[in-house]
Symmetry: C3
Subunit: 278 residues, 3 copies
């Protein structure tokens, strides 16, 4: 890690968390969209965690109580899935488990705005989105309409801090440079590859990895930084040798698996920054 | 392109359309089947478009109004998805957007025959299927029962022309050699790879790419030819070096991404043919 | 095959079945989970079969009557899918077709326990699961809670035999070494790769391949051995040259496709064992 002030910001570095995650693979319940289910499961398995895509309201709450963390994603939203999310969130809260919200395209339709508002009010532990989504949640105008954010991460930093303070969640804005804040602390994380936004549902998969790290961490802020750093390091490694988005994908899973805790801390580019602008 | 008569047949060549598509990536709403969702999104991203798999009836119509095109696929059909298709088609029509129908295995069950008849009556801009599906839609007997067509494209050409005239849609029959007609004009497109039918849902993904091209084109006929040519050229490129269907897949996505507009026109093998048989 | 007693145990070797499967590709109806749908279809296509993920109750029974086999998987369980399973099982039974049950995480929730009990009572031809799932079905305590079994195959052999006798099904327990029994005969199958459990839904895909082999075989026991041997041989081939779970996946599909019937029998490591412990 390039920033010597990080030990002040992070209680547990990415290496510490990855070591825990691999020693005791957390069971992560992912209620995610149809597009993401396969790649998100493969991302968790490659990283070292154990995914389960259990979603139906009749069992989602029971399952949340035996899982280490829950992740909720509204990508291919429908009524039965929202019912499952509600049941799972109740189950996770009852069992004291962290849960992560991924507000995919939350500004695109009235249904999404309504469901997202309800979910944010249920107090997620972590919220991860692109710049357009986080700006929309923070009440700002945004240019994105679909699932791909059109705003740059930088313009979403103020909104992310406000959202973190208002919601009590750790907020992650991911893009070319990622930003993580709990309203008090903030870091930027560099890395990744320009082929990542050309691979569908990698953001959704990162949300699930945040859940895996949250199940292995003492603090949600450290967990979020750990998951994003793991993604950024693996993405940069996979970029070398990839000739396009297709050849990037298997390299990325290999890199998520291959990186050791020591390498993760050594290669992660994390900069502490001021959460409150000067 | 090998056929010098094409400028007479096409107002906009594949290169022209791909240039537009990449300059202003169209948002394409894909209501497709569970098998196809991930690979179809990756195909659109690799080609340069922006996919969104929004399908639920409560928001599908709203979303169709902000998307550049809609694609509808009945592969893993169920009641709620058909409701979503109806809402989205109304939304697309209200906003004057093109929409593409993929009648997967439309002849296999009573449910499929009924839903397909309803969707065709809603006047899709483009219909893309394999030979068995297009023959069934044209009222001919067919040998295919599942999702893989057992008829050759050639035997479906007459039916395709009739279907185009009757429905008002541009009709594409895809297989070893593709056939596109609007009832008046017709072309055959060569290329691709024998590994393509061993990769599930590539036909469904091509339907989504037809939507992306339709959002970028002045005419649906040109759009369909452009999407099919892009697939055929990328498929042929990807075949070189592939040792099976698994290694073909990442190469194909790389090739969809790598091909430039100029290369697309130079490498596409498109033959104008007579729409009305001699 | 390394065991000279196999001709006594198997009526049809894997090679014989694979030859039949490729000469007349069976249409296999797979009602599987959202995570598995794409990879399962690609596995069947690579092996030489023809998949169809038709599941809705309104058509699942009709479709089962035209398919060569049915496979049922409860991974991402919900009410409408269970209705579809019931309809499809009735259709398969009415048409005299084999069907395969994959009881994913059957011990995790009350819903899963109830649905699995109902499905087992409908007398599947084959049941394939990991050691935790098979032990749970046999009424034994198990350590697994999620989709990844934590028990070793060996400890599930007794339960598998009892389940086979009680249910009338051929039972397959898959893991590092696979075990297949019909209560009377039993074999162990070696091969595969440590990257396989890091690729999500490969077990679910193997269940679908059991269906393809069952459609091509005279006996369900031979079919199950054939499908597992095909997987094990392809897995071992794919492991060579793979550098992680990501690069394993395309190699595995290539290997499923490339292996010839002769090579399958030559490379399969199958040991006949005593079904009744000494």
């Amino acid at each position: 890690m390039t920033d010597r002030s990080l030990p002040v910001v992070l209680c547990q570095t990415p290496a510490t968390l990855l070591r825990t995650l691999r020693a005791e693979p957390p069971l992560v319940q992912c209620i995610t969209n149809y597009v993401a289910m396969n790649i998100a499961a493969n991302v968790l398995l490659a990283a070292g965690a154990s995914p389960a895509m259990v979603w139906d309201a009749e069992e989602a709450g029971d399952f949340a109580a035996i899982a280490g963390a829950l992740t909720v994603n509204i990508g291919t939203l429908s009524g039965p899935f929202v019912d499952g999310m509600r049941a799972a969130i109740r189950g996770a809260e009852g069992a004291g488990r962290p849960w992560v919200l991924d507000p995919v395209a939350c500004q695109a339709t009235a249904l999404r705005r309504r469901v997202t508002a309800e979910l944010v009010a249920l107090e997620p532990t972590i919220i991860r989105g692109n710049a357009s989504e986080i700006r929309a949640l923070a009440g700002e105008a945004s240019r994105g309409q679909g699932v791909d954010g059109r705003d740059s991460v930088t313009v979403a930093e103020d909104g992310a801090r406000r959202l973190a303070v208002d919601s009590g969640a750790v907020v992650a804005v991911t893009g070319e440079v990622d930003y993580v804040t709990d309203g008090r602390r903030a870091v930027r994380i560099e890395g990744g590859s320009p082929f990542m936004p050309m691979n569908t549902a990698l953001g959704c998969s990162l949300t699930c990895l945040c859940g895996a790290y949250a199940a292995s961490a003492e603090e949600a802020f450290d967990a979020t930084v750990g998951a994003l750093a793991h993604f950024a390091v693996a993405g940069r490694r996979a970029h070398a040798g990839a000739t396009g988005p297709g050849s990037f994908a298997p390299r990325f899973l290999d890199a998520l698996h291959a990186v050791t805790p020591e390498e993760l801390d050594a290669e992660a580019v994390i900069h502490a920054t001021r959460a409150v602008p000067a």
